[in-house]
């Protein structure tokens, strides 16, 4: 269990003009599960490799438990990594795979055997120990890859999209398994994924990256409910947050914005008073689909709740709810509706807007407007 500090890490490849990492600062606490998410090419894998020591960085420092390891070779950093492709040594048995790191470090044989047994038990792969990786299923290979990492009891664990090669069902199982392991062992984990569900479910904190920059660092709840900018808001959540550009206006009952449904009806959306600095200016409303939904009696009459009649264009039942597509100001908007309130394409439905959960963004800076 160790603390990992990333200090102003910059990375430029060769003579390339573009920086791959543009000054990343993250402190990862001992025992914390940190997830790096971002679209491909955002630099998350480069950052991961930099932490492991597999790639040099151009500037900055990587500090583990107060020791600067920036210039150390991977083997001297005491880090283990689980790879997307598992990277099991194909010519070795499962046992040899798990023991390899310990053998290289010249541990006594009995200790290695004990450790292999411990890890195999932990991951329930004891019956597989004498098999070759090619004889294992994807899920089993995944477990062995984790076993190899666990065997060395390193200070830091790195997971590089470890579940992306598994089928959907197995992925959910392994996700739970990883979470259980982390609960139990309380290890420091840095985990790269592009799957936002994985990020939301596993992380203590999420670091959202884009173009080599850290966009937001926070708990899953913070990142979901108070995204720092348009990018984070659109990246986290599925279906994505709806963005509706509106002009803030002053009315008799406070601030509000007028939007039009595609049938031409006007909907009056109340806005919080804190937006008064934006009066007569344009802002972007960020509304999650679940906050445009069927009429809920218990919310009726609350200050930041509005109603509007909207034509349903398309419905996508997902099981637990129905995603309905409507048009507001000519922009397609997703709403999340309870399947017990059936709506059909072509219906005009009365929907409720919960503006108290809405995010507001400045269209110029694309940053969140803090209230």
């Amino acid at each position: 269990m160790s603390r990992l500090e990333l200090r102003a890490i910059r990375k430029t490849y060769g003579k390339a003009e573009r920086e791959t990492l543009k000054g990343i600062d993250i402190d990862i606490n001992s025992g914390e599960f940190l997830i790096l998410v971002g679209p491909s090419g955002c630099g998350k894998s480069t950052l991961m490799n930099a932490i492991a020591g597999l790639e040099d960085i151009s500037q900055g420092a990587i500090v583990i438990d107060g020791t600067d390891v920036t210039t150390l070779e991977p083997r001297d950093r005491d880090i283990a990594m689980v790879f997307q492709s598992y990277a099991l040594y194909p010519t070795m048995t499962v046992r040899e795979n798990i023991a390899f790191g310990l053998r290289i470090r010249r541990q006594p044989k009995e200790e290695i055997d004990q450790e292999v047994q411990r890890v195999a038990k932990l991951l329930q792969i004891e019956p597989l120990l004498d098999r070759k990786p090619s004889q294992l299923s994807g899920g089993q290979q995944q477990r062995v890859a984790m076993g190899r990492a666990l065997a060395r009891r390193p200070k830091i664990y790195l997971f590089d999209e470890p579940l992306s090669n598994l089928d959907a069902k197995l992925r959910v199982e392994m996700r739970t398994e990883i979470k259980r392991l982390h609960r139990r062992l309380r290890t420091t984990i840095v985990y790269v994924t592009h799957d936002q569900i994985e990020a939301m479910t596993l992380a203590d904190r999420i670091a959202v990256m884009k173009d080599g920059e850290l966009q937001q660092l926070g708990t899953p709840k913070e990142v979901y409910e108070t995204p720092a900018n348009l990018f984070v808001a659109s990246f986290i959540g599925s279906p994505a947050m709806n963005f509706i550009p509106v002009t803030v206006q002053k009315g008799d009952r406070g601030l509000h914005a007028m939007v039009k449904s595609d049938s031409g009806e006007t909907i009056d959306l109340p806005l919080p008073l804190a937006l008064s600095a934006y009066e007569n200016k344009e802002i972007i409303l960020g509304v999650r689909p679940e906050h445009i939904t069927q009429i809920q009696a218990h919310k009726e009459g609350q200050p930041l709740v509005a109603r509007g009649r909207l034509t349903i264009e398309v419905t996508e039942p997902t099981g637990p709810d129905v995603i309905a597509l409507v048009n507001i100001n000519g922009i397609p908007v997703h709403c999340r509706i309870d399947p017990d309130h059936p709506v059909d394409p072509g219906d005009v439905a009365e929907l409720m807007f919960d503006m108290s959960k809405t995010s507001y963004f400045d269209p110029a800076t694309e940053q969140r407007i803090t209230l």
């Binding site: 200090r7 102003a8 390891v69 001297d76």
Partner: protein, 309 residues
């Protein structure tokens, strides 16, 4: 976004591991060094050396009296070189053409879910495992004007059959083509077969669903897909023809006279039996030039297409 730069902590100093790390960092380069040296000297250095020789009047021993392009002038005026070059063109064009035609033909036939495909392929390819000296020896016997093919045909009842190309000065170069095609066409077949197997079967399915017949599918869809195979096969065969030495040495030794001479044999004779090092070097450089003239456009187009991908 936080942009504050933390205070750098003291780097962990481990002198022993530092040295090891340094060695580790240099290891890949150290491992390559001997090969790089071999290549720098053995390929590039020697190429330059030969080029230098070609500008001297070296005869039996290398000398360093530079005579400019005199050796090249001699070469171009040399009748035997002239014959060798014309022969190379005849040999090269026929060899490449026949090999490609046979190779494609056999590959397409062999790609029809043939039983015993492995065995048949093995038969087509075994000549590639032989030395060209062996090939030359056997074909010299088969094409023997008195006792070879001619006699066989006579015995089998075709009494008017006449085949004495091996000893006819304007025909002996064609015997080289026969032997070389036997040696290499199976290899071209293997290249095309590999190419055919690399084509996405769903393309063929799509074409069949579109109503195309098999010959149309091959002509209009599959062969155009094999452009890269064509190019690499032509490159390899052209390269083989320019370097061709063994076969002509053992089959005809350039004869009768020097009627079936090829540049590689010319170079060898001049350099190692006639004591004309300068002339030999000049002919070697001309051969290199010919290969570069093929190679450079090929590599250029390869690199360009890769960049476009």
């Amino acid at each position: 976004m936080s942009t504050q730069i933390g205070v750098l902590s003291v780097p962990a100093k481990r002198p022993a591991s530092r040295v090891i790390n340094l060695i580790q960092a240099w290891l890949p380069k150290l491992v390559l060094a001997p090969s790089l040296a071999l290549v720098l000297v053995g390929v590039y250095g020697y190429m330059i050396w030969t080029a230098v020789l070609s500008f001297t009047n070296s005869s039996f021993m290398p000398s360093f009296r530079f005579v400019g392009f005199a050796q090249y002038a001699r070469l171009i005026a040399n009748d035997r070189w002239h014959t060798a070059c014309i022969n190379l063109v005849i040999f090269g064009v026929l060899f490449i053409g026949v090999c490609l035609a046979l190779g494609i033909f056999l590959a397409i036939f062999l790609d029809q879910k043939i039983r015993q495909e492995g065995f048949i392929r093995t038969v087509y390819l075994y000549p590639m495992a032989l030395s060209l000296i062996v090939t030359g020896t056997v074909w010299r016997w088969i094409l023997n004007p008195g006792l070879g093919l001619e006699k066989l045909m006579h015995d089998w009842g075709w009494t008017s059959f006449h085949f004495d190309w091996l000893v006819r000065s304007h025909l002996s170069v064609y015997t080289l083509v026969i032997a070389a095609v036997w040696q290499s066409s199976g290899f071209v077949m293997a290249l095309f077969l590999a190419g055919l197997r690399g084509i996405d079967p769903s393309i063929i399915k799509a074409a069949r669903v579109d109503g195309a017949r098999l010959p149309t599918i091959y002509l209009r869809i599959i062969l155009p897909c094999m452009r890269p195979v064509f190019f690499s096969a032509i490159m390899i065969l052209a390269h083989l023809s320019i370097k061709s030495f063994d076969l002509v040495k053992v089959m005809t030794a350039g004869g009768p006279g020097y009627s079936s001479d090829l540049p590689a044999l010319f170079m060898y004779d001049m350099s190692f039996t006639r004591g004309q090092l300068g002339l030999g070097a000049a002919s070697a450089i001309m051969m290199l030039g010919a290969i570069l003239a093929l190679l450079v456009p090929y590599l250029y187009s390869e690199l360009r297409s890769k960049r476009h991908d």
